[in-house]
Structures are given as C-alpha cells and as structure tokens.
Symmetry: C2
Subunit: 245 residues, 2 copies
Amino acid sequence: MAGLNQVQRQTGVALWRQIADRIRDAISAGAYDETGMVPPETVLALQFGVNRHTVRSALAALAQEGIVRAVQGRGTLIERKERLNFPITRRTRFTAGIGAQAREMRGLLLDHAEERADADVARWLRLKSGTAVIRLETLRLADKRPVSCATTWFPADRFAGIDEVYRKTESITKAFAELGLPDYVRATTEITAAHADSHDIGTLELTPGAILLIAKAMNTDLDGVPVQYSISRFAADRVQFTIEH
Amino acid sequence: MAGLNQVQRQTGVALWRQIADRIRDAISAGAYDETGMVPPETVLALQFGVNRHTVRSALAALAQEGIVRAVQGRGTLIERKERLNFPITRRTRFTAGIGAQAREMRGLLLDHAEERADADVARWLRLKSGTAVIRLETLRLADKRPVSCATTWFPADRFAGIDEVYRKTESITKAFAELGLPDYVRATTEITAAHADSHDIGTLELTPGAILLIAKAMNTDLDGVPVQYSISRFAADRVQFTIEH
DNA sequence: TTTAAATGTCTATTGATATAGACAACCATA
DNA sequence: TATGGTTGTCTATATCAATAGACATTTAAA
C-alpha cells in the first residue's frame, strides 16, 4: 500500500518534493507495475492529503527527471523504473557485476592527477603519508545513464600511466591487467549514505535532496598488498548493493 | 574544506534544511574537531552564500536534534558527532557488533504478530507462500538513541514464542539460543537507501528528508536452512556498514 | 456522438521561506 | 574595564509554496 505514507509540513522540505520522492520510491519498488501508470492526480492528492496542484508539482519534477510522462486525457505513464543490483564480494568487479543488467557499460575518466597521499589515503593504501599516488575521477554509466562517480587512488610507482590505460579500456580490471596485475581481491568495503552535494548532483544528473550510497573500498593483490582505494558515490535510487556471505 | 558546498535554490528543499544537512554531515566527518565548535554564523553565511538568518534557521534545526548547542557570546558548540560502525560479516550480530561502541544497547519490541508469509517473505525464508510466520517490529537504541528499526520474520513452527523471549532478552542471538538454536550465520544482505517515511521519522526521531540505510538480511542455521528474514532501517547519519572479505 | 475521466491552464489568496538592516545581550580577553 | 567577536531579537519586504476554485482540452469507452 505505497501511498498511505503521510507527508509532513513546515520541515524545510516542500510537500511537492516529499511527494515526488515517495512516488519515485514507489515506482522503483514496482507498486504501479500492473497499470504502468501512476494513479490519477486527484487520487494521489487524496492519498497524500494535499491539493491537486501540489501533486502536479511533484509529477512535473518526476517528468523533468524522465521517470514519468503525462498524457492529457489518459494519465501519467511510467517511463523508467530500473534499479541496478551491484554485488559486493571478495571478487567485486564493477563492469562485470553490473554488466548483465545493462546493454552498455561505460567508464569515463573525468580528471586525473598525481599527488601526495593524505592521511586517509595513506592509511587505506598502507603507505607513508606523502607518498606519490595517482588519483582518478571517473563516471560510470549504464545504458548512457549515470550510475556512480568515483575518486580512486593508486600507488604511483606501481601503476604509472594508469590514467591513460583507463581512458582507453574504461575498466579498472582491464587497466590492472595491462599494467601487469592479472588478478586482485576486495579487502574492505565501508558503506554510508548522505545527501548529494552540488558537484555530484551535476555529474550524476540528480535533483537536490537526492541520496547517495557511498562505498569506500580497498582492493589488494593476491599477496594482500593494497593496490587501490576508492570512494564511489552511487545514485541511491538507481542501485542496490548485495552482499553474499 | 567542508563548507564550500554550494546550495541550490528553487528545488523544493529549503536552503536552511540543505545547510543543516551539510553541517550535520561535516560534523560527522570531523570537520570541526579542532575547535569543537561550528564556525560563526557570519562565516557560515558567507561560505554558503546566504543570509545569516538562514544559517540561524539551519543551526536551530540542528540544536533541536541535539547535535549542537548555541551559547550567546561564545559560539555554537558541537554536542554529538558519533557514527556507529556496523560490521556485516558471515557472523553478523547486531548487539555484539555495535556493543563496544556504546555503553548501553537496547532492543525494544514494538509489536508482534503471527501471520501468513507473503510472496517476498516466503521467497527469502524458502517457505511456501501462506506458511505461518512470526513477525516482530523492533527498535534498537545505542545509549538511548534510536539506531534502527526492523521488521523481522521467523518460521512460526520452529520459533513459537520468540516474541516473548525477545522482549525479555532484547537480543535475537539470545532469543535463538533459548529456543534451541545456539549458532546461526548471515547468508545474504541487500543494502539500499531511501528517504525516511513518516512512520520511521517518528520511531527513529528523524527529520523529514532524512536518509535511511535499508538492509534486507537473511540468516540461516548451520545447515543452511533459513531461520530469519529482516528488513532493518538505519538512520544513515548515525551508522555506517563495514564489509570485510 | 456522448460521456466520464484524466491532464492542462488560469486567477486569487494565504502562509512559509529568504533577505536586509539595526541593535541588544553576552563572553573572553587584552 | 573596555573591546571585539559572538549569538539573540526585532521590523520590514519580496519570493516561493500550498490551497482553492473554475474551466478548457484530450482520450477512451459507452
């Protein structure tokens, strides 16, 4: 019974945005799969206890996101409802993990730099603070739709030129292979959630108030030596994580 | 450099709430640990590019949550900044996992019922749809502060009376032990994030727009037979998950 | 073709949000 | 005790968010 969720006033979050978030979640959960349509505006207004115009503002926002499309005389059609599953295992691979669920996977290199490890990066990569590291800023897309953006650090001495190789292969796994590391494993993953900041709202094509799932991950080679530390920021309404034990 | 995050207008999220969310995240990240205080209102107003009164609204909201306390003439002191770490492993235990990080752990039974498994519950517990299951609604607190609320299902035939045992022991692990299951393991965990609905806002003492980390988990006995399926909703600003592989 | 049901558009009004400026009250310290 | 820096309070104004009602337009089905 998605839709009975009441909505709260005077909280700094406009009613139309709360309603848009609820409807988006309901669509993702498959609440309207039978009809492929959102309930009529008057029905939603009744369910949420608001004016029809307020519901219209919410639906306009969802239409702007490309999630629904209103057709006069018929109703409001659902255009998109996917949520990708991202398995987190000892052999976590981004492209392979998402691969079967999308026709086209891409990994774009937005920026890169060689820099000195700060305390956090040094701790995760088990290096001395100040050691040279390579930082990549990447954006991953599934069927041309942004899924996550990530900041990734590598030890500079071992993986010199990985920026260029990643730009070419669009895959960390393939880049490692070309640089002489045929296999690696996931050692640790930390998961948190937060509101998207303005930068990620831009790159991931989100709306303010949108949620990010944030995964801090560290991969090692087969000897247990850290090879990669990354902070990935996923659009929470487009993915879920699965951990199999 | 937390604080340079710009803030967006006309998005349905009031500026004061966006700013409150940013400051809350910055406090959690330890941005103001040196002074133990939030920067002066005039400084924050300059950083966010808004009027000082708007910043005051944001700080008032954080004070309402008990995160900061304003002292006239001195500044705005940080009262709380903890984020509990919740390890997810094959031997995930809630109370033991959080235990060391809080002085007092409690698990309150809010509601319980015996009912018939719907399709989702039946699939996770590998039962026939319609089989009798026991459902518990629980609230977990660390040092009297709500951390998560959960809906949990058990096969009714095997764990009759678990509601009463849980109310007494306040722990799933102990309840299992009393009912003849000394050990169990975590089989699968699915993690998503969503906005809190009005019910969870109430029970977890959140503010609207707040984020939930949602973990769907299934535990089995040592023979691999499902014993428990749960949907836990964590206040995202109070916890993080860690997965060690 | 008529009708019912749905979205689209317009006007008007009220309350919440945000800005602006001025000044009071309080605290630490030079 | 005097000063600078901080939070607290007040008034005023403009814009956004939400409600209310009326009616137009489009679609599908009776």
